[in-house]
């Protein structure tokens, strides 16, 4: 029983982060119908920079903010030089390859700078062994904290999107970009903002996962982005509630399968889940069927 609950907690904790990643992917999908295929490297870079700066003796909060600042610059660069020009050329997938390229470059740099060994991630929120006993079961405080933080961020995000003017402007751009621009909404800025937001969410997710896992290495992010994508698709591409729900399901399934069957099965499961949804119900749990108008 204890094992089950431990796995469950790990599942919802990791799952909430997957939800965050999925929301980040949704953001750019809303405004441009594109996705950063190098998002994994964004997560990795943020975690690695944070870990390195803390190891150098910088204060924790400052390190995190500095890492996020680098991410912001990176996302502006990505959108301006690899997404926008790619959207202009014929064929839908230029941007997928070019954003993947940026991700690969980052992974390459990270390997050179930090080495390909895993870097230990410092304890920012509690420590790996801190736990609290609930009904006789030991629950990791770290997992709990990450879960709470991720949920808070999801809620904050939703509030921002629904409650603020810029949030509504972004929804407007996702609904009808032409109409948005004729009523005065600066579409260009919104698009840039969505890429920046997506990067920030990815960066924070990277830090949270690195915290739970304890280490970070250059290849750390690729698998995460796939789980994030599974979460997004499972919940319905474009839906925030869906992203969280999808993330939780994916996270719990992953931990359960990994714990009770094997580690390899856990990867296979994600993939099988992805194919299953795309074939059976491509719009996910909360999404809408995309209709192609002639």
């Amino acid at each position: 029983m204890e094992e089950f609950l431990t796995l469950l907690l790990a599942g919802v904790s990791v799952g909430a982060v997957y939800g965050l990643i999925a929301i980040g992917l949704n953001l750019t999908f809303w405004t441009t119908k594109t996705m950063n295929f190098g998002q994994g490297s964004v997560m990795m870079l943020c975690a690695m920079l944070t870990a390195t700066m803390i190891a150098q003796g910088w204060p924790q909060v400052l390190s995190i903010l500095a890492a996020l600042a680098v991410i912001v610059v990176l996302m502006v660069f990505t959108e301006t030089y690899t997404v926008r020009p790619a959207l202009k050329i014929e064929g839908s997938m230029g941007w997928a390859v070019s954003t993947l390229g940026v991700g690969i470059v980052l992974q390459g740099f990270a390997s050179l700078w930090f080495g390909s060994q895993a870097l230990a991630f410092p304890d920012i929120i509690f420590s790996a062994i801190d736990d609290v006993v609930v009904f006789g079961v030991h629950m990791s405080l770290q997992y709990l904290a990450v879960l709470v933080l991720a949920l808070v961020l999801v809620v904050a995000f939703e509030l921002l999107v629904r409650g603020t003017v810029w949030g509504r402007a972004m929804r407007a751009v996702s609904m009808d970009a032409d109409l948005a621009s004729v009523i005065g909404i600066p579409v260009r800025i919104i698009v840039l903002g969505s890429y920046i937001g997506s990067g920030v969410l990815a960066g924070i997710s990277g830090i949270l996962v690195a915290q739970i896992g304890g280490t970070v290495d250059p290849a750390f992010g690729f698998e995460l982005v796939i789980f994030g994508f599974v979460a997004a698709v499972l919940g319905g591409m474009g839906s925030t509630t869906g992203a969280l729900a999808g993330g939780l399901v994916a996270g719990v399934l992953q931990q359960m399968v990994g714990g009770y069957i094997s580690s390899a099965a856990q990867h296979g499961m994600a993939f099988a889940l992805l194919i299953l949804i795309l074939v059976v119900r491509p719009q996910g749990l909360f999404g809408q069927r995309e209709v192609v108008k002639v």
Partner: protein, 236 residues
Amino acid sequence: MLEIRDLVVSYGAIEAVRGVTLTAVPGAITAIVGANGAGKSSLLRAISGLAPIRGGSVMLDGKDITTVSASRRAEMGLSHAMEGRRIFRQLTVEENLQLAWQFGRRRNAWASALDRVFQTFPILKEKRRTPAGLMSGGQQQMLIVSVATICNPATLLLDEPSLGLAPIIVQEIYAFFTERCREDGTTVLLAEQMAALALKVSAHGYVLRQGRVVREGPSKELVDTGLVAALSSAYL
């Protein structure tokens, strides 16, 4: 004051507007009529910044806005109610209006701007929290013209506002912007396929055919000289 000179608009290989020169009469309604495919919508889209301009220029209040972005033009007091009844369907009436008010060139406070809309179109007040997509065509069009005018633009572009609406609603919409024009001195550029109606309410008219202006003149003249019949041959 809106002036277009030798405007050329093309989408890839298709030339939609082939050298159009026109001036919108300040503080009055100018009609642009023509059959479908004549280039009316492309012309308006080029003016508001949605369509790329290949040649010629657009001058707004003496300033050349040919290369200015669409949202900047909106900020400068140019408003465009596009064809096809475009509105943010998932947002409520009030949210639609608020967005337009927020990002346009505001002259009034929000409360009084909203009040003015509700006074003109009481049904919108009733439906203020209804998602726009759930309203009837006529109500949507009322919302669209309200959205386009909530910031009291100096220049208003209307693309086939009467399309698919019952005559009684068309009457209301037309009454609305005719009055706006009179009260606020808004310059209106009205594109319609229904020439008779547009010419009736406008001061000046341009007939477009395959991207070019083939007739122009004071609307009264165009109507009086039996142009409606001649127009039918332009259409039919």
